[in-house]
Symmetry: C2
Subunit: 310 residues, 2 copies
Amino acid sequence: MQQADFQLIIIGGGPAGLTAGMYAARGRLKALLLEKGATGGQVLVTDWVDNYPGFAEGITGFELMDKMTAHADRFGLEKKFATVDSLDLVDDIKTIHLDNGDRLTSRTVILCTGAKPRKIQVPGEEELQGKGVSYCATCDGPFYRDQEIAVVGGGNTAIQEALHLTKFAAKVTVIHRRDELRATKILQEKAFAEDKIDFLWNARVSEIVGGTGGVESLNISYNDGSTSSLPVTGIFILIGVVPNNEVLPLDQLETDNYGFIITDDEMCTKLPGVFAAGDIRSKNFRQIINAAGEGATAELSAEHYLGNQV
Amino acid sequence: MQQADFQLIIIGGGPAGLTAGMYAARGRLKALLLEKGATGGQVLVTDWVDNYPGFAEGITGFELMDKMTAHADRFGLEKKFATVDSLDLVDDIKTIHLDNGDRLTSRTVILCTGAKPRKIQVPGEEELQGKGVSYCATCDGPFYRDQEIAVVGGGNTAIQEALHLTKFAAKVTVIHRRDELRATKILQEKAFAEDKIDFLWNARVSEIVGGTGGVESLNISYNDGSTSSLPVTGIFILIGVVPNNEVLPLDQLETDNYGFIITDDEMCTKLPGVFAAGDIRSKNFRQIINAAGEGATAELSAEHYLGNQV
């Protein structure tokens, strides 16, 4: 058997990577978790997590990730804070090149690099994230009971979620840059029939205005040059999700049209010994709990692969 | 649109069902969770859960299920404690017949009926479960550091897990009722080469003997009529998993050779509006965390299905 530095290297320390790492450390694999920033991923900047099963009263994103990190640490997971430059995943021994010139080898790799919401890149968006600016209606919708909110987007996700948000909000204004929706006809019909939903057509948000209590209003500019102000306490930006795949060897992996990695049900990519879990996977629904579940499955698949190797 | 009593009925209140229910209640679906016993499923009788991410110090199975139940309750999930007699899942409106004669209808159904380990059905097995009798090496292996333990079985799972258990235990005795293993050749070779693994061939456990501290020894009977006693502190019974599918309409669903339900990656069965999550699904690895993750995905798939219906 060719020698490698590790039996398993996990790339990325969000919920999927931390769960895979916790399982690997507990299972006594020689494993390493690589993370370029702090462990926790996107959840770190999530104000409040209300739907991770078992934390019945909710928990801050920071605290949940602190607990998941402590959980992996308790079993002695080896972690390295370093930025990956490139990967070669084709051969039996996988090679990871770091940007400091170091080179690590492993028998298996789990890719957990995550994804990020597409942003509208206007003033206020960054500062008010978690204080009225949200990218996930499932996560944050219930916090806006009886309030007036906005949805940016015109695709299936935006319209489905605008409909979903009417269960909570007093009024939902859909802001779309074109004069018609891209969403399927049936969703359009439902949205047009819903009294709580208004539309602003040919419109873009030019600024998100907030105070100490969070979002207060949106500045809107229209394609004809006119402008207006819309008072809302929340804005859901639902214009797509972007995979964190910059360092991944996309020529070696199978990806969907958006650059997310395709795996089977057991988190195996098309390359033997290479697995993916969490938001980087091609899938419909990105949640903390299913990322964690996939991390466990990917690690067990990696153990199974190692067990069947000479 | 035809009317139904509910938008979603969830069958089974283990980690998958409770997570689906929590998501549904939080998402304000008109949903019902049906459970014949107490919510929690198999985990209720799991002594100690060490690998549910976020509970870094571990937690009793009872307490974890209590928290998951409280989480769903907090959002007002409607629950009904009743035994399902039969289901008709083919039509647009799904019908659930209860054994008290009641009949419930729903637009969608998520099947979370779970699975159970196959037992050897000998004295001591039931009484000592969680006190040295285990059905999951991934879950419980790390508790047996430097101890002498036994594995019952000769298939891939048994031998793979026997090898895994050598990372913790001082000695692992594999007890198999035949004179050769069913496991693949490479696993056999690894097991035969492993100093920590012994074999008892043509042998069955006739009794698990324990004291107040848990399992103490096994009584073994051989095919030739002889008997012996094996001192161990733990016994892993790894002879298969049985789906809880007795009430499911197996003629309407697609199942694997063992009777587990086949779904796609988004937990959709072949029947529109019918989903499955957790241990009842056809899959390689059954863990609390991936059951919970699948419960969330199944619920979001059900919402998506409802959103796209007239």
